[in-house]
Symmetry: C2
Subunit: 295 residues, 2 copies
Amino acid sequence: MTPAALAAGREVERLLDRRLPPAEEPPERLHAAMRHAVLGGGKRLRPALVLAAHAAAGGGTDTRPLALEAAAAVELVHAYSLVHDDLPAMDDADTRHGLPAVHRAFGEATAVLAGDALLTLAFEWLARAPWPDARVGLRAVRELAEGAGHAGMVGGQQLDLDLTGAGRADEADVHAMHRMKTGALFRASVVLGGLAAGLPEDGLSALAAFARPFGLAFQAIDDVLDVVGDAARLGKDVGADRTAGKTTFVDLYGVDGARRRARAAVEEAISCLAPFGERAAGLAELARFVIDRDH
Amino acid sequence: MTPAALAAGREVERLLDRRLPPAEEPPERLHAAMRHAVLGGGKRLRPALVLAAHAAAGGGTDTRPLALEAAAAVELVHAYSLVHDDLPAMDDADTRHGLPAVHRAFGEATAVLAGDALLTLAFEWLARAPWPDARVGLRAVRELAEGAGHAGMVGGQQLDLDLTGAGRADEADVHAMHRMKTGALFRASVVLGGLAAGLPEDGLSALAAFARPFGLAFQAIDDVLDVVGDAARLGKDVGADRTAGKTTFVDLYGVDGARRRARAAVEEAISCLAPFGERAAGLAELARFVIDRDH
């Protein structure tokens, strides 16, 4: 991660640790599973996007606490999605971030509930955040719900299930699936950062336009790392996509082709940031990071 | 159900049918599962509570569309909770409302995702609803999240898991579990109805005070029906609690004792409605219904 993103991630982690219900408070098992899911590691890429978008939008120290709340809420949604994805009925993953998956550590029933509780808590936090204009707060709730729901992340998960094991998937279907499965939450992340800064509609559109190629680059490199990555660095198994019968960008374009497309997408993403000038340096750095990363 | 509640239920069902994503739209399987879960039946008790609370709070025709949106959102949350409860890792139920459970009809992975999508959609609908004051809309999001989350419904589910099969549970634990598992969403239902009507804080507290004994009465009768009920009327198996090793109010107090406590709780609930006068007739009728019902 970039130094700014690492610092942002640590700041959001402190907030998450402070805000998540204590594992000593009943229902202890549920709370421990929620904390395991959220605090067990991760790049905190979505919180970094929220905060970098807030900065790009000209958000100052007065609205930064709001951006941090939004960042924490988005990370809860991401964490819940991993808990449910890892379930035996879904990807059946044993480890996550180098730790036992929640269903391995706490059992399947508690994993379902911990995911449910994290998703619900994201909306609670967003609704509690100190929005100077409550209408903008409601808009943020809507954006997060749209990014996470049936027309976004969850819908993309279903398309992934539908495509998996059904033979080589169509290129357009793979793109559409990833736009929903990972792209929609990236979009919500930058839009929430913009909303926290009070950005008007045209600025929000520019951020959304950035998120789309950003998501493509991210996923293309994710697929590359699944083939050539190092399991210890990734904190998860390598080759899992192949084993699961998923059609990846590497299947479609080869390792070099996927890397080339990721680089072109990052250039496109950065070109969307022109309206923000120098203030968008953090977002541009994050976009470059997604193609240089090894995890 | 009372005639008013039946009419309210039909009105909310039409809204749900109109608003849920069409099963012909991709991801088709997810959308079909969501519709199966929500439109497959049910008493629509929570929507009836939202609308009756709205009426008790003096809400008129101008805010009724808002109350209907809130009622639909609460029903999505209830429907999602049943989908996840019925999963093999949880209650492993084959049928619900006389139909195959979602995981039986659509597979376990899609059931997890359909539940996730319904929960998310509830917050999307609530955030999109036409709140005259957006601050009240944000409060509604918070109330629903609190009622549904780790300190409410999901937390109660976890306590239920923790208590199940661990021998006869303590009376206080059984009460605390039900207050969270079913009581918290009843509370959110009436508070949302009050918020839609623009009710001030003291009125919201009176509605919340009503919900607590209402929830106790509901659960006590639920436990009675699990022992003496008719499976065809209930649309689910009879004796499931016993088989699952759950401690019920019937175990604690016997069938007659559980019925007696339910009647006393209903009287207590109705006494909380005094501040609302005649306008609370619908809520009082619902409270009487929960002890007279056979399903």
